[in-house]
Amino acid sequence: METLTGFFTSPMMVELMWTVAQIFAVIVPLLIAVAYLTLAERRVIGLMQLRKGPNVVGPFGLLQPFADALKLLSKETILPSGASKAVFVIAPMLTFVLSLVAWAVIPFGEGMVIADVNVGILYLFAISSLGVYGVIMAGWASNSKYPFLGAMRSAAQMISYEVSLGLVIITVIMAAGSLNLTDIVMAQKDMWFFIPLFPMFVIFFISTLAETNRAPFDLPEGESELVAGYFVEYSSMSFALFFLGEYANMILMSGMTTTLFLGGWLPPFDWPILYLIPGPVWFALKVALVLFVFLWVRATTPRYRYDQLMRLGWKIFLPFTLIFVVLTGGVLLGFGLLPQ
């Protein structure tokens, strides 16, 4: 008994448990946010289309996400007989896990981050570029035509927009002078980056729409052509994992936009009174704002045609961001604004 308590109070164990507690403190609110994002999406789009949206289950339909989750859980998990079984099962897990692990480096407030790594922004970029594997694996393992077509579209699309996403991130890194996300946020203390880098902010947002397969770039799941895209063959919990992963990715991308361009946890003005509201609240408000724009775009824009999507990514965004990287570097150097 003594050794057991000694084991649990040893410094390593305490540190481990503290880390686990931190992880839960991020994941649990995140999953609740995902649940309510699905509700918010249906309500917001409903209001934009002069409908009511789901409002029956619970007050204002607040229990609707839980009803949906219960319904999904009670359904049968189907493994297609022609599927590559291991890959088929791993794909949704991969999507879900990748959408969660990226949150490790996002700072919610001053020092409120699970892992304050030096190359946080690169880590985020790396994880978001891995997201495509869940989609490709699902599409291929299903051994079916529609998922495969959806996966192929998604792979090409995500790779195309990753290029401009990367170049936008380079301009932000140049302006902030650090790869650390906390430093990037602190560099925006005087002015949020979306003001001096406004064109990049717009391109970043549009690229995140493409990266998360959201309207108007939701061709990988274009229901009118591909039934539902890469997750046609999925049901029950495996489908739910894709669904959760997709919405968690949306929140992650909004968090990334907030951190890179909208000053992270910083209040809009550098007034002492605004610092009374804690950083995570500012962060959540900004993320909610970006998410609202996500939903707004979905309600208002028609789906792009595939060649238009590719043209936008390669022929417009890529040259433009490339020129802007050079321009930003030149301006920073020329005016002596390079961060030390």
């Binding site: 590559s84 880590y123 790396a126 192929m152 792979a155 790869l179």
Partner: protein, 212 residues
């Protein structure tokens, strides 16, 4: 205590998944294992304290190169049995290449690695290794860096010239032409006499009567 544990985990996974790349029957599974081994080597880089290189490995190899690789392998209709046929035949060649690689690795290990000036300057740990790499890459190794970029550019241009074909008689969409169209050249307003039914309408009425 945890670091060596992770080292053995990553190292084991790298070796096992590397082995699975050649053992797996399905080429797509091979590529997936290749990706896993890339990922684990990125983990090894992190353990070495080279987090910048680790992230680059994931972004470039796992996030971009391997996706395209997987893309191509999935699209190809590869007959697995046919692929297996040449296995015995190419075995000696493969062994020779493997042997050369092992000898090369041995030569690196027998050398004193720490004599390299890059590692020697990085010992302090004050400056992040990203800044370290930048300061060395753009000064001491500038020429090598530029040459590497040039080689990549040549490869890119080569790929484009190999695939670019101008076929005759293909109708292409030219977006600038579409956008520059004006109302005047596309819409023609014709005033129709409303009292007299156009001939087309009468023809269709007549046709309808015949059907009835």
């Amino acid at each position: 205590m945890i670091a060596p544990l992770f080292f053995y985990l990553f190292a084991l996974m790298t070796v096992v998944s590397g082995l699975m790349v050649i053992i797996a029957r399905n080429p797509v599974h091979s590529v997936l294992f290749l990706i896993l081994s890339f990922f684990n080597s990125a983990g090894l880089f992190v353990l070495l304290g080279a987090e910048f290189l680790a992230m680059l490995l994931v972004v470039v190899y796992v996030g971009a190169v391997a996706v395209l690789f997987l893309f191509v392998v999935m699209m190809l209709d590869i007959n697995i049995d046919e692929m297996r046929q040449g296995f015995r035949q190419h075995l000696p060649l493969g062994l020779v290449v493997g042997l050369i690689l092992i000898v090369e690795l041995m030569m690196i290990f027998t050398q004193d690695v720490s004599s390299s000036n890059v590692l020697a300057t990085n010992v302090s740990g004050e400056i992040s290794n990203t800044a370290m790499i930048g300061s060395v890459l753009y000064t001491e190794y500038l020429l090598n860096f530029q040459v590497a970029g040039l080689i990549l550019l040549v490869a890119m241009i080569g790929a484009i010239t190999l695939t670019m074909r101008h076929r005759e008689g293909v109708k292409r969409q030219v977006i600038s032409v579409q956008n520059s169209r004006t109302r005047n050249e596309t819409i023609q307003i014709v005033s129709v006499d409303s009292h007299v039914a156009p001939k087309v309408l009468e023809d269709s009425r007549a046709a309808n009567k015949q059907i009835k």
